[in-house]
């Protein structure tokens, strides 16, 4: 996973080039811009600031994408048919990932009868299903790109203590007691042996004030998936966010390793709970010690189609 930073000057450079190419279209120059989301609107703003003639001749109709129901609409819910009909339109986006949003916006605009539609995005991911007519940067599906931001987010786990790999020195230390008998029968030696026998397997501990309070054991699979097979937190340390932080580390590492999915075995009574959090039962089941388990899997990249889940 690569993190790409586009400076403000570089953003202006891409937009200057784009504006110059637009001007070469002569009579076909789009005079109605439809920026998608805040990043698209911000790009459109920078373009207007770069070229006063462009600003004076362009109308801007912002497009709103509602993430809760994946629908495209126009700001203030006003359909701009009279602005769009018969005109040349430019769709502007900051970053195209799967292209679901820009594709929906394209379809909505097309239904309003424009004379033509062009599209621009500063960033396009290689897995996008639609390629804009003009774009600045092509990046991989796992890459992250930051531009025009006042703050750039750091990765974050828990504010105190440390997450570290299981070490030989830990083998004599008391095991975390979670209250779940499947886990509590483990020893650090079991997990140490598994790590030594399979180099794809990792065990990370959460330790604070010299005490191991939780752990996660997982494997990065051949088909670029992560399988979490054990995650537990000591009973007296629960409800402090430790399990969530450990799972977050596994996801972050999985994306860095270019994994496309994260899997785990979920007990039957928790299936709906996992499904509410982005997991899907993907066929495999087993019954062990009288308990039914489902293989639950979720995409590490939200932009992937559902049928691309692999592990």
């Amino acid at each position: 996973m690569n993190t790409v930073f586009i400076s403000e000057e570089e953003v202006r450079g891409y937009l200057r080039d784009f504006i110059a190419r637009l001007s070469q279209l002569d009579k076909g120059v789009p005079r109605v811009w439809c920026p998608i989301g805040p990043s698209g609107l911000r790009l459109a703003q920078v373009a207007m600031q770069l070229d006063a003639d462009l600003a004076s001749q362009t109308q801007v109709v912002p497009i709103v994408f509602d993430r809760s129901n994946s629908t495209v609409s126009f700001s203030n819910d006003r359909c701009p048919e009279e602005v769009v009909k018969g005109r040349s339109i430019l769709l502007v986006d900051g970053s195209v990932h799967s292209a679901r949003t820009i594709s929906r916006a394209y379809a909505v605009l097309e239904s309003l009868g424009p004379s033509d539609i062009s599209s621009y995005s500063l960033v396009v991911r290689s897995g996008a299903s639609m390629v804009p007519n003009f774009f600045g940067l092509l990046v991989g599906d796992h890459d992250r790109v930051h531009f025009l931001k006042q703050e750039i987010p750091n990765n974050r786990l828990l504010p105190f203590g440390r997450v570290r790999t299981l070490a030989f020195e830990d083998l004599d230390k008391p095991m975390v007691q979670t209250g779940e008998h499947f886990i509590d029968k483990f020893t650090w030696s079991d997990l140490w042996y598994e790590m030594r026998a399979d180099r794809r397997r990792k065990t990370y501990l959460y330790e604070r004030t010299g005490e191991i309070q939780g752990f996660v054991s997982f494997r990065v699979g051949k088909a670029r998936g992560v399988l979490v097979d054990t995650l537990g937190v000591g009973r007296q340390h629960q409800r402090q966010g430790i399990a969530g932080a450990l799972l977050r580390w596994v996801e972050t590492l999985g994306r860095h390793r270019r994994c496309r999915s994260l899997s785990l075995w979920g007990v039957e009574q928790r299936r709906e709970w996992y499904e509410n959090r982005g997991f899907q039962a993907r066929g495999s089941q087993m019954v062990l010690d009288g308990v039914k388990f489902y293989m639950m899997r979720k995409k590490l990249l939200y932009s992937l189609p559902d049928d691309e889940l692999i592990c």
């Binding site: 801007v60 993430r67 203030n76």
Partner: protein, 74 residues
């Protein structure tokens, strides 16, 4: 409905955000964006990544992830 290019060029960041009435985290209210806050779903609600992992943590601890396995250590 349509904004002139001249007006957009001088618009403040807050005015632009107000144009969109962007989706906010159902837990903490932060404005959601994929690359900065993360945008995940918990049932019908959209939440940021911080809230997703924080609210998931208690459930994971109550029902730890595990399957019965062989034990080698003493």
């Amino acid at each position: 409905m349509a904004i002139s290019g001249d007006a957009l060029a001088t618009m403040s960041l807050q005015e632009m955000l107000d144009t969109y009435q962007p989706t906010k985290c159902a837990e903490c209210g932060v404005t959601l964006h994929e690359t900065t806050t993360g945008c995940r779903t918990v049932g019908p609600k959209c939440v940021c990544s911080d809230c997703y992992f924080r609210t998931m943590s208690d459930g994971l601890e109550q029902y730890p992830i595990c399957i019965p396995r062989m034990h080698r250590g003493g």
